[in-house]
């Protein structure tokens, strides 16, 4: 019996020919990503036990992103704790506020992490990096502390769910709609403990930004990680960041690899999808119901990349956000921010009546910059719509693609972004 990509990565790391799902290993970790919310607790645990070392300061990346710039004194202290540790232990890859943004998105663009490697972080969306053909997963502060100290994490070798996507996504339908559709089909724990491996000609044609959106949301189906095999798109993405193929190992699932389950998706049938409150699996077609929104939010590690901002600008250009809507755009990183300036997207946002906030996790998890008040209704390009996720527990969060968020912001209620497609526009104009 053959092996999947994930099994091959884990086998290589533990120095075995073969690993089998269910086996437990202490797996060497290539990269540990640290942010300021879950890392300080890990550091205090280590200090309290006199475990004052790091396994390798050149293999730790520290990027404060959840509560920066600090919104209160407690947040400032978390940041200080992370930074003082970075300085004390000589952590080599430190990304200061103003030179960073959302950790997962910063990291994917650095050229540090590579195919075939392992990555953990005290953040559930670490699975994001699986789009680079690596084994990346989120852990809690204790596991993080263990990884910082020993460079290893215990893993049960997971089984894999194969998601095979074929055909063309319709105009106006994006990878976010695809992943929301998959989570709707398999359920919010449909991939619990599993790796979600994406294959098929739709994925082959998809750019890296779209692929990151898919692997990023593996955790929303309970997945241990998402993963996509390396191809020319991956190689070109890495080459643009100074990484050549001789610096990494490509793994491919064997034709006779064993999958726990196979999910087949016809991309042409995927519609712009909105996950209704209060769970990401609660997907419906955008615009099925006329739901008035108070806030439209674009950002997060799922959908705050430059292609997302371009999707938003395409719809907002020459239009205005509805009077009763506040629209907040959060570029995922400083690089995305700058690119948006260069391309004139910022001007589009401001002219449309949207505001732009500093690159951070922001209101995605209700910490700052767009937190929802009682009964607020928000359409959001983020990843979770749990009760209280973005602020007050009575607020309603609808998850969607950036295009759907922008279309909804303009209309003032949840709207199918295909109403703004070029072809539809021509029809709309002649009808007027």
């Amino acid at each position: 019996m053959g092996m999947t990509i994930s099994e091959k990565i884990l086998a290589a790391k533990v120095g075995r020919e073969k690993v089998v799902p269910g086996e437990l290993y202490e797996v060497p970790i290539d990269w540990v990503l640290c942010h300021e919310v879950t890392t300080p607790a890990a550091l205090r645990m280590l200090e309290a036990r006199g475990m004052n070392r790091v396994f390798d300061p050149s293999r730790i990346v520290a990027i404060p992103d959840h509560t920066v710039p600090a919104m209160d004194i407690k947040a400032a202290k978390l940041y200080q704790k992370l930074k003082s540790w970075v300085q004390e232990f000589g952590i080599q890859h430190w990304f200061e506020v103003g030179r960073a943004g959302i950790a997962h998105v910063v990291l994917e663009g650095t050229g540090l992490i590579k195919p075939g490697e392992t990555l953990v972080s005290g953040d559930s969306h670490t699975c994001n990096a699986g789009a680079l053909g690596m084994f990346a997963t989120g852990v809690g502060s204790t596991d993080l502390a263990g990884a910082i100290y020993s460079g290893k994490v215990w893993f049960k070798v997971p089984e894999t769910m194969l998601i095979r996507v074929t055909g063309e996504l319709q105009e106006g339908v994006t990878p976010k709609d695809l992943v929301l559709e998959v989570i709707k089909r398999i359920g919010a724990d449909g991939a619990n403990y599993l790796v979600m491996e994406w294959v098929g000609d739709t994925i082959d044609r998809m750019d890296m930004e779209g692929r990151f959106t898919l692997t990023n949301m593996a955790i929303e189906a309970g997945g241990k990680t998402g993963i996509i095999a390396v191809d020319d798109t991956t190689r070109n993405f890495l080459a643009a960041r100074g990484v050549s193929p001789d610096q990494y190992t490509e793994h491919r699932s064997d034709p006779d690899a064993e999958y726990q389950v196979v999910v087949d998706i016809d991309a042409s049938e995927v519609e712009p999808t909105v996950a209704y409150p209060h769970i990401p699996s609660n997907g419906r077609v955008a615009g099925s119901d006329k739901i008035r929104v108070d806030q439209a939010y674009v950002g997060s590690c799922t959908n705050g990349r430059i292609s997302d901002l371009r999707d938003v600008a395409r719809i907002l250009r020459g239009r205005k956000v509805a009077d009763h809507v506040r629209m907040i755009v959060v570029p995922a990183t400083q690089a995305v921010w700058k690119q948006a300036v260069v391309e004139g997207l910022m001007e589009v946002f401001v002219d449309a009546g949207a505001t732009v906030s500093y690159p951070s996790c922001g209101a995605c998890l209700g910490m700052h910059s767009g937190v929802l008040g009682p009964n607020d209704v928000c359409i959001s390009s983020t990843n979770r719509n749990f009760v209280g996720r973005m602020g007050d527990p009575s607020a309603q969060i609808y998850l969607a693609s950036p295009a759907t968020v922008a279309a909804s912001a303009v209309r003032g209620y949840i709207t199918d972004p295909r109403e703004f497609n070029e072809s539809h526009q021509a029809v709309a104009v002649s009808a007027d």
Partner: protein
């Protein structure tokens, strides 16, 4: 006598167990004041030491925040039962030596507020009101090793001493 809190709902997530607005603290006693706040505002008031949580499928889904384990432990919950747990929450519990058990029968064997007797060694949870005894699978050996050591970090440290 410990009592049980029964929440039949599936997918009770870590945002509900401890909302992000409290994550600027990692002090267990502070987190405990807000345990389960967005699910059940009266939970902290009603919880006492050694209580037991019985919840629906996929308990602890969502964020990796270990604060979820600390918050309910701090609020006095001595163990959690659910038909299934989200992966990271389960790991976090094991790493803290905190007992969580996969079991479906408990959901029908208990009503909210029932008094219960938990025997982890024997693998039984008894409903004192009805006399019904639910047998549950013990923790896996690896989890027991970590619990005996006092948590993952103690376990790692002890192993290092052995190898030295």
């Amino acid at each position: 006598m410990p009592k049980v809190f029964v929440y039949q709902r599936e997918h009770i997530n870590t945002d509900e167990i401890i909302p992000a607005r409290y994550l600027t603290s990692d002090v267990e006693a502070e987190l405990a004041q807000h345990a389960m706040e967005d699910l059940d505002g009266s939970f902290v008031e009603r919880a006492a030491s050694d209580d037991i949580l019985i919840c629906g499928e996929d308990f602890g889904c969502g964020s990796s925040r270990e604060h979820a384990v600390w918050a309910i432990r701090g609020a006095g919950v001595q163990a959690v039962f659910a038909p299934s747990f989200a992966r990271i929450f389960y790991r976090n519990a094991i790493n803290n030596g905190y007992p969580v058990f996969e079991n479906r029968e408990v959901l029908e064997a208990f009503e909210d507020g029932d008094e219960a007797a938990l025997d982890i060694e024997a693998g039984t949870l008894t409903n004192v009101r009805t006399g019904r005894v639910v047998h549950f699978a013990p923790l896996p050996d690896f989890a027991l090793d970590i619990a005996r050591a006092g948590g993952l970090l103690e376990y790692l440290k002890a192993k290092e001493v052995q190898h030295a």
